[in-house]
Symmetry: D2
Subunit: 335 residues, 4 copies
Amino acid sequence: MVKFALFGAGRIGALHAANIAASHPRANLAYVFDTNSVAAKSTAARYNAKVASSVEAVLGDPGVDAVLIASSTNTHVDLITASARAGKAILCEKPIDLDIDRVERCKSDIAGSGVPLQLAFNRRYDPSHRAVREAVRAGEIGALEMLVITSRDPGLPPVAYLEVSGGIFRDMTIHDFDMARFILGDDRIEDVFATGSVMVEKQLHRLGDVDTAMVAMRATSGALVHINNSRRAVYGYDQRIEAFGADGMVQSGNLRASTLTRSGATATDAREPLLNFFMERYRQAYLDELTDFIDVVDGKRQPAVGFEDGRCALILANAACESLRSGRSVRVRYD
Amino acid sequence: MVKFALFGAGRIGALHAANIAASHPRANLAYVFDTNSVAAKSTAARYNAKVASSVEAVLGDPGVDAVLIASSTNTHVDLITASARAGKAILCEKPIDLDIDRVERCKSDIAGSGVPLQLAFNRRYDPSHRAVREAVRAGEIGALEMLVITSRDPGLPPVAYLEVSGGIFRDMTIHDFDMARFILGDDRIEDVFATGSVMVEKQLHRLGDVDTAMVAMRATSGALVHINNSRRAVYGYDQRIEAFGADGMVQSGNLRASTLTRSGATATDAREPLLNFFMERYRQAYLDELTDFIDVVDGKRQPAVGFEDGRCALILANAACESLRSGRSVRVRYD
Amino acid sequence: MVKFALFGAGRIGALHAANIAASHPRANLAYVFDTNSVAAKSTAARYNAKVASSVEAVLGDPGVDAVLIASSTNTHVDLITASARAGKAILCEKPIDLDIDRVERCKSDIAGSGVPLQLAFNRRYDPSHRAVREAVRAGEIGALEMLVITSRDPGLPPVAYLEVSGGIFRDMTIHDFDMARFILGDDRIEDVFATGSVMVEKQLHRLGDVDTAMVAMRATSGALVHINNSRRAVYGYDQRIEAFGADGMVQSGNLRASTLTRSGATATDAREPLLNFFMERYRQAYLDELTDFIDVVDGKRQPAVGFEDGRCALILANAACESLRSGRSVRVRYD
Amino acid sequence: MVKFALFGAGRIGALHAANIAASHPRANLAYVFDTNSVAAKSTAARYNAKVASSVEAVLGDPGVDAVLIASSTNTHVDLITASARAGKAILCEKPIDLDIDRVERCKSDIAGSGVPLQLAFNRRYDPSHRAVREAVRAGEIGALEMLVITSRDPGLPPVAYLEVSGGIFRDMTIHDFDMARFILGDDRIEDVFATGSVMVEKQLHRLGDVDTAMVAMRATSGALVHINNSRRAVYGYDQRIEAFGADGMVQSGNLRASTLTRSGATATDAREPLLNFFMERYRQAYLDELTDFIDVVDGKRQPAVGFEDGRCALILANAACESLRSGRSVRVRYD
């Protein structure tokens, strides 16, 4: 049984709390900490956990095996560093930080701590996206030549969030950069081009951000990667991956609440809107991610997705930002 | 080049005229005959054919190679017999007749004429239904165990037509009986059960007919066959076949005008209504049927679907009528 | 928190034990009873429950709120009766019994006990099949005119099981009879015709049973129902419902482990085999069924599927048996 | 009846000859000209047309209404100019030429000729791609925000062809540039980025060409366009368009020979390989294109796709070439 402390009791924190406390037979929720004490109390009460008075109180309790960091992005680095020092296993929400310099510093700060750190790129655990990766790795489509990632949110977050989000590439596309790396395996992305537009929320002009974007990338092998993003798809949360290779193609598709189809006078075989939003679409993925992490804490395996994956995804996001600004393809430097 | 005379210039006759005269490089339309001389003139004029003054005039012209019989059902037997005597190759619309005794008499009347006769069970030429048959015959699904035929018209014909149609089993299901025989191959249907309801057109009560029907049949091998029919499917002309066997399943599906799919706030992946009606859905089948018949006239092959197929389909339809009346499964007698 | 005792620790009992003990926040597993004490011990140990020494020991414990009956069919009636007398809420696996006389006796024996009894027709809780029912009830397809139920198991159970199964209609089709009743709502099935064949397992001849079957039924409204069953579908557990009506059609389809599709030189858009078997296909349904029952025990609602549903499904199964024997459509008598 | 002369009796010329001579009731094939006299003779013989001794002989015959230019690309400009001078209506295969300067010269040379010229961007006539455009224009998806064009050939042409093809963007992607313009309507593409790799045929390195490519474009409205190309898709000719907008999404898909699906032990719902190649996939489009052109010749309408469309597509292809070389997004200049 792994005893968790949860940092952050917002929307994503609440989801993790439910998974730890109510859905996983090998996990326990010991503490909840949030600077918003109302949120902390509510989540703790629901799952019979304690409200932690401070980060130190949590990390000083030798009964805590692991921390789940789901607080706001700007707190991640400090919590990672402190947790690593305290010898707690770490499951941290993406991204590590919006600033690559802070990420690099964090990397050296925790070097040698020996603490397992798993980054919560939850989509890697989606059964359908995983099946794409496994088919590619098993050689089913021969050499991978093109990867097309469609990733569209059902709706914009509040502008207040967008202002601190770090921009679409670091906030939203970062998942797709990670998916590209996940499917590509050892094949490294070398060049990144990005373009984008403000089509949904005019205020993004003021922030220098976009809500509709396309990315074109090239890997060492010559494989090409396309990502397209929109912050608003009225038909739901659209999450598809298509891998094309010398011997064929595999695709993962969307999920609905049921398999129902409707046929009537104006349309046939119509399906339901897509599951909406990540909490529904990736429900199984969040659970499987937690199971994997518990295996890590139990020493059964190494983290499947670690600090370096978070760092590389941020490097790609930064390259996309630079490309959007310059109109040039950017050569990626990973070190 | 095969010279045709067309008997019957109604809806289905007009379709055949167009195929013979305008779409087929190896066919010519010489004559059109119809008791409705307006219809005859209009069709003849469109394709530069002559209006025939009588059946005899047509059959007496040694330049005519073949006749296409698309007149009303009650004229089929006489036209078949006369055409056979005149030595003309015959392509005849289904059914041969509604009365099995007349069919039997016709059979003996034309026996020994040596004239090729092809019955226009056009669905046998549909590329998708054919693909089902070919997969079954090639052993792809192992021994055939169940056959499920869905066959629904988009809308009711006029009541005036229904009154002379011979009832749903002889008029509409007869195509499905033929499809069942087509897929079953040498395996004979032995038992027929039918049930039905009046759900669409109340006047059918008066005619002792139904507009919604289900048939259950059993073949010598033990294979089971289901047919379901409706005279009115608001989403279009629904034509599907599912063949299930020891090693798998094959299915043929519906056609639309395009592959377009629509996704919006209330539905995703919605397709267009089905092609509607048989002239659109089986357009390719009608052409391929004609090509096949021209090969028959040219002596390149035997008719793929002949008098015996029309006779057997009617026997099955009669068994269904009897079963509907009696509530019993009817043992089929083919001789 | 509802305290359960489990009768029967076989395959389906183990599934229920897991749902009660490990997946449901409002349920507890107190006892496990099985005449096979090894199975009882193993299941009890896994979930920290007690092994009950006898049925009486369980029913005499006032701490037990509810029983889940998952033992062999011939024990159901006695356990229902005893549990009702002991005032325990009952969730009982289908069928109630194979003998309609025993079912009738049980009905009068428990009349007036006031104990809630829910029958485990789990498919009613499948999100896709439910969506069909809800669309029909909401009037989306207008008057229901035809219902087509495809229900094929991935493989035969052992012959030893088949010998005591009561035959395909009482053992397997009974679920489909219930689904038909579920979709039809207040519309009663009046006539049942059944046909079948031995296509998979020759030994069924000896048992007078079949492994491949088709049923045709007619309801009071005139709506027609088709069921087709096979004991062996090599591509997985095939579970589909199609409801056709005056204004359109709705269909529920199969589930796979993922949405992956494969395209290669010989096939395109190929999907994975179907989920196999009921424990995977109806996983969510079993959980939702349990939640519903817990609401019943908590007095929040009446059982959605009760004794009468089990009785009626058996009556339909018996009618199918009689029809198979007689070759006639059987008029159903419900009282 | 429109009398055609055909320039070029290669693969695509033969297709046009068949459509003109054998499939279209309003078209006649008068002449065939090809520098390869064997090809010219064979095509002419098949359709009872004359072999033309020279271009001049064709253009000097006042009985010729229209020319269809399907000869090699480097002859297009001269034939267009001469035909325009001779007052013949022109249906010309894409591209106009590989050299934009020659295209500009041709444009001024034929200015004022008053002769209708239609460019054979056949995909504009595909019923499914057209349906995408019509849905977009009808406002079904609101403002168009993203366009994703997948366009993959089943296999590489011979290296000898590749050497004179003008490279993938001018030879293959040019169709997709036109499709993007077709869907975008009045919205102009302003920026073009292209990347590519040699994944299929090593000899392309020598030619400075690629066989696997991705293009990212931005239109005046902010709409983003992605194109992906491969010269070799083992599962067939992959041609899909996805238009995403503020109110939804429409997609056009691929065609197969039939609707057959197969389910077996290892895969379910598998469809047949895609139609392969453009002669099959776009068969209906070629016919509809011809009908449209005949209407143009008959003065019933203006060409739906003209010289300017060919010129703009080449400008976009040139921009892609430049971008591939420079690694920069290229601002498009149309004048």
